[in-house]
């Protein structure tokens, strides 16, 4: 069972309290009626699915109830960082470099 740091509770909490919410920073078009069928399908169904650092949404369901974002490594399953919903997406390349140099 992983420990996940909730940026709202400011605590490491057991994975059991959380729900996964898919890739983060997929913004819903402000006016969906203006986007083409193709763009809409992209928004609905297509995700990056990277090998490596993945930015994703989690919700501290059985905790503070807040959605937040996390950078998780899809190979090691390590959480690299978590941050509050609405905060900017971290620089993944810088994070990757930092991980590399920490090894």
């Amino acid at each position: 069972m992983l420990l996940i740091r909730c940026p709202v509770c400011e605590m490491d909490r057991p994975e059991l309290e959380f729900r996964y919410g898919g890739e983060a920073h997929i913004a819903r078009p402000l006016d969906p009626s203006k986007v083409s069928d193709e763009e809409w399908a992209d928004f609905l169904y297509f995700r990056t699915n990277p090998k490596g650092l993945h930015v994703e949404r989690w919700r501290h369901t059985a905790g503070c109830g807040r959605f937040f974002n996390a950078v998780r490594h899809t190979v090691t399953d390590r959480f690299v960082t978590t941050y509050k919903s609405g905060e900017p997406r971290p620089d993944l390349e810088a994070l990757a470099r930092k991980l590399e140099s920490a090894r």
């Binding site: 069972m1 420990l3 069928d37 609905l44 109830g65 807040r66």
Partner: protein, 1001 residues
């Protein structure tokens, strides 16, 4: 009764507490402190099992968790546990154990003919090669036969009467293993003030120290030092000592699983005690002190009862006071073999001679042995043994300078000890994702780069001997405590005297002069894999150890290759002519030893498997004889049978009475969400298809919720209590999903809205009163609300009181009749229900359950999300376009409704189906076809979503999703069934009161 092989004194068994046990029906004596294995040996019983494939007689190989042979079934009835290692089963008075995998008896087993089968018949790859064809024969012919004659123990038939429990635990330092290194680590860490958990699989803490003889620590016997140390640890409130606790798995972020056995060792344990407790430990730092496993030698007939690991014999003599034989031959390639020889000699066994595989026999062990008068033969191997059910002798061979073996003398003995060197137990380290490194000099894998906050100490780290293990344990404990935030220094290592430190070892098959095709030299005792099998696998093209393992099944039995993996690797590496690291190493996976299902389940079994959710009026329904159905975790009243009624009769009566007069129904499980805030209406506009801005407070509307892909995900009646407050209802099963969906949009997309969501599902008991007399029933009970038709029209909502209790009273209908839903605070649910029921008796009120609810709504063509929908159904498919606020610029799912796939003309649409024969009831889920006997492979036109006998329609009715269904009205379609197709006519999906005249009364 005397046990003939018990020593006169010594050992850690309690000779003042004699016990009695049975093995295969025969009664034997033993002592408190014995294992089943030690007690059997004390009685001269070596034959304890039959092997998996060849049914060869097998004896005790080891004295610990690595035991591959002595798998026994223990206990009776539901408490019967198969496949336990006799070496780990603690003796108690009255223990009942039996051998496995033999028929008709252990001494005479017909399966042994497998052992005489022509060479090659049961060799490696046998399963793959033999049972390839014909297709189907595997399942019907081969598998049942193999299952009957091969295999391990039999699972008990009865339910397990024991219970199991869990415990989450947290500590600064977890130490796994309580031998010299583990005790030292715990002592150092605890001394620094760290919270320590020390877990060991055995009943007594001390590990190898308990099997020592001769070595002293700080002037006392090693075992006495262990006792003293354990006492000191026990006195420290920061230390938790877990005995009989197997650490079986090392998971991410220093999360480790430990199973503690609480009752297996007791003859009459307290009934409230769980059999096992699973500890889920989160440790800041971990010290692995899991020791090492001695390697057997791979020589012909090395599996005969009486052939045993040298360390095991030492343990039996020193720790249990048992002589594992009378005349011992010691075969060694490690100094530790000499220690065993010396201990056996001192316990009164005749040590025939010591066969030293290595050319040099002048180490400290050999010197001590010679000094004690024991014969040591260097460059000597055992090339075979005589005896079938028990060793009677062994043949020696001399290794010449060219490596060839010349046959030598045959010696009479009843015990052959093997000291092939030590394999560090790196299982947990490897599970932690740490990287193993190969030690060229000793030819073993050792912990390399750590992936987690752990370190290894002692034999599992390749550090052998008491003194070195203590030093490394102290250092590891201090390091762990320091890294956990404590100021720690390693205590000074005590003075250790008189130990023979293990050194040496041998890998691969022992050379011999015999025809390799005619002998069996076992590598994996539990899966009957021989050296020959491994070589065959290599000849047949297996290059990686993972392939060799799967081809031969080496290391794949319940012991997970504890004594065989390294041996198999060495033989494969020899055959391939490649060094071991290039052949690879099989992956170590949890669990280290088998873990019961009960331990994993804990309390989540039987009635406690899931929460059982009951509504506030459950007890009333139960008292009325309701039959309940499970809806999610809820128990819902399904129907209320009267004497002699079946479900069909009860439902028909309930439905008729609702339409004739009035019925009462428990709607408490409906999900409820209070949507509150200045932007509540705007939020509702965005989350539901319908428009909400103009809905007046006090009015209700049917709400339809889509996911972003445009598919229906939920529906329910929604009432507006105030400008900024909505009372939303959801389906019973959808409640958590809908709230999560709303929260998602509110928190991550519509963050501009000032609105908040609160689940009120359980705040309110919901009493539905439905039928033409519903108003008459409620009128006398309601205070402060005018519920007349004029004052409170269909789809309205009022707040007031009923029976003195505050209520939110909805005028809504899911039956097509005049109806109300009385919401009262849940604790008052049953009192109000009883009052309504009492009043209802004046009108022959009927209580109805979910089955009648389904029939009544189906008669009206009302959908149920999850029954008429399956996640691929749009509002238009359901004929619900009227529920869409087309003027709204946006709502969740709106954009998708115009995607090409969602506007196709041949989409499946909801229709009614009427069978030609009104008595025939369709099956829900049945496929709908254009012709009676469609050609195989023709896609179905759709499927039946609901089908009931309708009292109101006087016939069977059904709803279905059918491609282009609305355009097919009047057509005849077919529902093909096993016993012939059923002809149906496509109709509107509404079967009663199509104009809805009964609602507005």
């Amino acid at each position: 009764m005397n046990a003939p092989f018990r020593t006169e004194a010594g050992g850690r068994v309690d000779r003042a507490r004699p016990l009695s046990f049975t093995f295969d029906g025969k009664s034997y004596p033993g002592f408190e402190g014995d294992t089943l294995a030690s007690a059997l040996l004390a009685n001269g019983v070596h034959l304890v099992g039959r092997s998996f494939k060849y049914h060869r007689p097998r004896g005790l190989l080891s004295a610990g968790a690595e035991e591959p042979n002595a798998l026994v079934g223990v206990g009776r009835g539901g408490r019967y546990t198969p496949n336990l290692r006799a070496t780990q089963v603690e003796l108690f008075d009255g223990l009942v154990a039996e051998s496995q995998n033999r028929w008709p008896s252990l001494g005479f087993d017909v399966g042994e003919v497998n052992d005489l089968a022509p060479a090659g018949l049961l060799s490696a790859g046998f399963y793959y090669k033999t049972f390839m064809a014909p297709a189907g024969a595997w399942k019907s012919v081969f598998e049942p036969i193999i299952r009957k004659t091969a295999g391990l123990g039999v699972a008990p038939q009865e339910p397990d009467p024991d219970h199991y429990t869990h415990r989450h635990a947290f500590c600064d330092v977890l130490v796994v293993g309580a031998g010299a290194a583990g005790l030292a680590a715990a002592l150092a860490a605890a001394g620094a003030g760290a919270r320590v958990i020390l877990a060991d699989e055995q009943a007594e803490l001390g590990g190898g120290l308990l099997s020592e003889r001769g070595a002293t620590i700080d002037g006392v016997e090693a075992s006495a030092w262990a006792e003293r140390t354990v006492a000191a640890l026990r006195a420290n409130p920061n230390v938790t000592l877990l005995t009989r606790a197997q650490c079986f798995g090392y998971y991410a972020q220093n999360f480790l699983g430990i199973v503690e056995r609480l009752t297996d060792h007791a003859s009459s344990p307290h009934p409230d005690l769980p059999r096992e407790r699973m500890w889920k430990v989160r440790a800041k730092q971990v010290v692995l002190a899991t020791g090492a496993i001695e390697r057997p030698f791979c020589f012909p007939d090395n599996d005969r009862p009486g052939v045993m690991l040298a360390s095991a014999a030492r343990t039996y003599v020193n720790r249990y006071g048992v002589r594992p034989g009378s005349r011992a031959l010691v075969f060694t390639a490690d100094e530790s073999g000499y220690a065993a020889a010396l201990d056996l000699a001192s316990a009164g066994l005749a040590v025939v001679c010591i066969a030293e595989l290595r050319a040099q026999a002048d180490g400290p062990g050999a010197r001590a042995a010679r000094a004690a008068g024991l014969a040591v033969h260097p460059s000597t191997v055992v090339t075979g043994v005589s005896g079938r059910l028990r060793v009677t002798g062994a043949t020696l061979g001399a290794i010449g300078p060219d490596g060839r073996v010349t046959p030598g003398q045959t010696v009479a003995c009843d015990l052959v000890l093997m000291a092939g060197g030590w394999t560090p137990a790196v299982h947990l380290f490897s599970q932690s994702r740490g990287k193993l490194r190969f030690d060229e000099e000793r030819q073993v894998y050792l912990p390399g780069v750590s992936a987690q906050d752990e370190r290894s100490a002692g034999a599992c780290n390749g550090t052998f001997g008491i003194a070195a293990s203590l030093a490394e344990g102290f250092a590891a404990g201090a390091d762990a405590a320091t890294k956990a935030g404590f100021a720690a220094t390693a205590p000074a290592t005590p003075d250790v005297k008189g130990e023979i430190v293990p050194a040496g070892g041998f890998h691969g098959a022992v050379p011999h002069h015999r025809d390799p095709q005619k002998v069996k030299a076992f590598v994996d005792f539990q899966n009957d894999v021989t050296a020959k099998d491994i070589k065959l696998a290599v000849r047949e093209g297996m290059r990686s150890i993972e392939h060799v393992k799967r081809y031969t099944t080496n290391g794949m039995a319940t012991d997970q290759g504890k004594t065989s993996n390294m041996q198999g690797l060495a033989i494969a590496s020899d055959a391939l002519g490649k060094p071991m690291p290039q052949v690879g190493l099989t992956t170590f996976r949890p669990p280290y030893t088998p873990v019961t299902f009960g331990a994993f389940a804990g309390h989540s079994r039987g009635l406690a498997f899931d929460p059982i959710r009951r509504t506030p009026t459950h007890d009333w329904a139960a008292a009325q004889g309701a039959v309940f159905e499970d809806v999610g975790m809820w128990k819902r009243a399904w129907f209320f049978p009267r004497r002699g009624e079946d479900m069909h009769a009860a439902v028909e009566r309930e439905c008729r009475q609702v339409r004739a007069s009035v019925g009462i129904f428990d709607g408490s499980t409906l999900g409820k969400i209070e949507v509150v805030g200045p932007d509540a209406a705007e939020f509702m506009n965005r989350l539901y298809t319908n428009p909400w801005s103009k809905l007046e407070p006090g009015r209700c509307r049917y709400g339809l919720m889509l996911n972003e892909a445009g598919f229906v995900m939920d529906d329910g009646v929604i009432g507006r209590l105030a400008a900024d407050r909505f009372h939303v209802t959801t389906t019973t099963g959808g409640a958590p999903r809908v709230l999560a969906h709303m929260e998602d949009y509110l928190q991550t997309e519509f963050t501009d809205l000032k609105v908040w969501l609160t689940s009120t599902t359980e705040q309110w008991a919901v009493i539905a009163v439905q039928g033409p007399n519903a108003r008459k029933v409620l009128e006398p009970l309601v205070e402060g609300i005018d519920i007349s038709a004029a004052a409170m029209p269909h789809m309205s909502l009022r707040e007031g009181r009923i029976c003195g209790v505050p209520t939110r009273l909805f005028r809504v209908s899911f039956t097509g009749e005049l109806g109300f839903e009385v919401n009262v605070p849940a604790d008052y649910g049953q009192a109000v229900w009883e009052a309504v029921w009492a009043e209802g008796q004046k009108h022959d009120m009927v209580a109805y359950g979910t089955e009648s609810m389904h029939v009544l709504r189906a008669e009206k063509g009302y959908i149920i999300v999850g029954q008429e929908t399956d996640g691929t159904v749009t509002p238009n498919d359901l004929g619900l376009d009227w529920a869409i606020g087309k003027a709204k610029p946006d709502f969740v799912g709106k954009r998708s409704l115009t995607r090409p796939d969602l506007v196709k003309a041949d989409r499946k649409q909801l229709v009614g189906l009427l069978t030609e024969d009104p008595a025939v009831l369709l099956e829900e889920g049945a496929q709908v076809a254009a012709v009676a006997t469609p050609v195989r492979g023709t896609p179905a036109l759709g499927h039946v979503t609901s089908a009931y006998r309708s009292p109101a329609a006087g016939r069977s009715i059904a709803m279905a999703l059918v491609a282009g269904g609305r355009a097919r009205k009047g057509q005849t379609l077919y529902v093909p069934m096993a016993n012939g197709a059923i002809a149906v006519t496509v109709t509107d999906p509404i079967f009663f009161d199509p104009k809805g005249e009964r609602l507005d009364v």
